[in-house]
């Protein structure tokens, strides 16, 4: 079967609107997952076991089950106990927490690897442990895991497609909708892939800039 892209322009508005949703979800969940990841890492490493153990269970839940299921439970499950989240919010919460747990894994490793002398130097200046973490240890830890955090952010971009299960009309869903109308799966999947790729290029560009900026600080 030959590819026929002449049908594409007529549907670009739907695709681009979907792309807008995808960007919105991705940005919001990426921010949540980044700060959530730091927060979780601190809980995992520095809190009393009474806090840590319940958190571990929570972490296992997110590590151990597919994102799809998590979104499903957040959207279809929570409403049954009276928490009715709009689909967009449910999507952002699900994606954000899921990747926060992933980021937390990365940041934990990096925190452990930061030279002990750094914490000591900060504590010696009179910084509390929290302040030392915030100002000295965590920035260095995050610096050391920029590439894998970049991984997670880009995985998040693609997984944002899953929020289509709860009816947010993001890029993949828009493409599927158009395919449902036109039955040109190859053309529109390729178009969607291209749009994803453009968003991905922007994210890579940001990552490269950050990496270049931190190169001096090693």
């Amino acid at each position: 079967m030959g590819l026929d892209f002449t049908v594409v322009p007529g549907f670009m508005d739907i695709i681009l609107l979907g792309a807008l949703w995808t960007v919105a979800i991705t940005v919001a969940s990426a921010v949540l997952s980044f700060f959530g990841g730091i927060f979780f890492a601190v809980i995992a490493l520095y809190t009393h076991w009474t806090v840590r153990l319940p958190f571990k269970a929570f972490e296992w839940l997110f590590m151990g089950t597919p994102l799809l299921l998590q979104l499903f439970l957040i959207y279809f499950g929570l409403v049954q106990i009276g928490i009715d989240l709009p689909a967009f919010v449910a999507g952002v919460v699900g994606l954000g927490l899921h990747f926060a747990v992933y980021n937390s894994e990365l940041i934990q490793t990096a925190i452990i690897a930061v030279d002990k002398g750094q914490m000591e130097a900060a504590r010696t200046l009179g910084l509390s442990r929290g302040e030392a973490l915030r100002k000295v240890v965590i920035p260095q830890a995050v610096r050391d895991v920029i590439p894998p955090i970049g991984n997670n952010m880009i995985a998040l971009l693609k997984d944002s497609a899953l929020v289509s299960v709860i009816g947010v009309s993001e890029l993949t869903l828009s493409a599927q909708r158009v395919i449902g109308k036109t039955y040109r799966p190859f053309e529109f999947y390729l178009v969607a892939a291209a749009v994803y790729y453009v968003i991905n290029l922007c994210m890579e560009w940001v990552q490269r800039r950050i990496e270049r900026r931190i190169a001096l600080s090693r």
Binding site: G117, Q118, T124, G126, Q140
Partner: protein, 256 residues
């Protein structure tokens, strides 16, 4: 609290790493405004002792008092944290390996703690940074990152960073090892000026000349015990103990 109030008092300090006893019953008092030097062979426990004053390497036994307050108090965690942060703000420390923050510029290395802990404004911080860096001749590198500095430059930033908190007590772990003679002289001047302003200092050093010229009192440590202490004239010219004499042989010969 002791009857006579010393500024720093260490009593029966003991410390082990596993089976290795690194500090064995160390006692030490320092008065306000004094400069005390600690000399001793490699691995004798000097760094460990210095770190204990800050409770960085908590002692296995013994007490550390600073200005009438016990530093290594056993307190519930939360209270201990508050307590130790307050104590540490009064104590500046320059590490043997400097431990500059690699992700911050020289400016931010110096101003981070005062900004955070004393809530000074950005302008005040800038003034403070320039003042402190000027002191150690590092003003021109204010925007550099630690990775761009030479060894001596790092050490000077570390000194500026510690002084920026205006501590009451300064601990130097081989403070001048990476400094050239001119800078040693400058740092020497800085120290003397600080001493006049009643800053108290404890200095671990291998440079006997330096110790002899700035210290009011010198301790000689060996294998976790203080072998001998006294004014530099005595320690360096005419030590009592055989072991001290041996350790300083070359120096004493040179001076004699």
């Amino acid at each position: 609290m002791t009857e006579e109030k010393h500024f720093v008092e260490i009593r029966h300090a003991k410390k082990s790493f596993g089976t290795l006893e690194v500090l064995k019953d160390i006692n030490l008092t320092v008065e306000r405004g004094q400069i005390v030097g600690i000399i001793g062979s490699s691995g004798s426990g000097k760094s460990t002792l210095l770190r204990a004053i800050n409770d960085l390497d908590p002692l296995s036994g013994g007490e550390v008092w600073l200005d009438g307050v016990q530093v290594n108090k056993s307190l519930p965690h939360r209270q201990y944290e508050k307590h130790i942060n307050a104590m540490r703000q009064q104590v500046g420390m320059v590490f043997q390996h400097f431990n500059l923050f690699p992700h911050l510029t020289v400016r931010d290395n110096v101003t981070m703690a005062p900004k955070l802990l004393k809530g000074i404004s950005n302008d005040e911080a800038e003034t403070l940074a320039r003042e402190q860096l000027e002191h150690v001749g590092m003003l021109e590198k204010i925007d550099a990152f630690p990775s761009q500095l030479s060894g001596g430059q790092k050490q000077r930033v570390a000194i500026a960073r510690a002084l920026a908190m205006k501590p009451k007590l300064m601990l130097f772990d081989e403070a001048t090892s990476a400094l050239d003679p001119e800078l040693v002289e400058e740092v020497n001047q800085v120290m003397k000026k600080l001493a006049e302003e009643h800053m108290t200092m404890i200095i671990v050093t291998h440079e006997m000349d330096f110790a002899a010229s700035v210290c009011d009192r010198v301790l000689f440590m060996e294998k976790g015990v203080v072998v001998e202490e006294g004014p530099p004239e005595v320690i360096f010219k005419n030590p009592e103990k055989q072991r001290t004499r041996e350790f300083l042989r070359k120096h004493i010969e040179g001076a004699a």
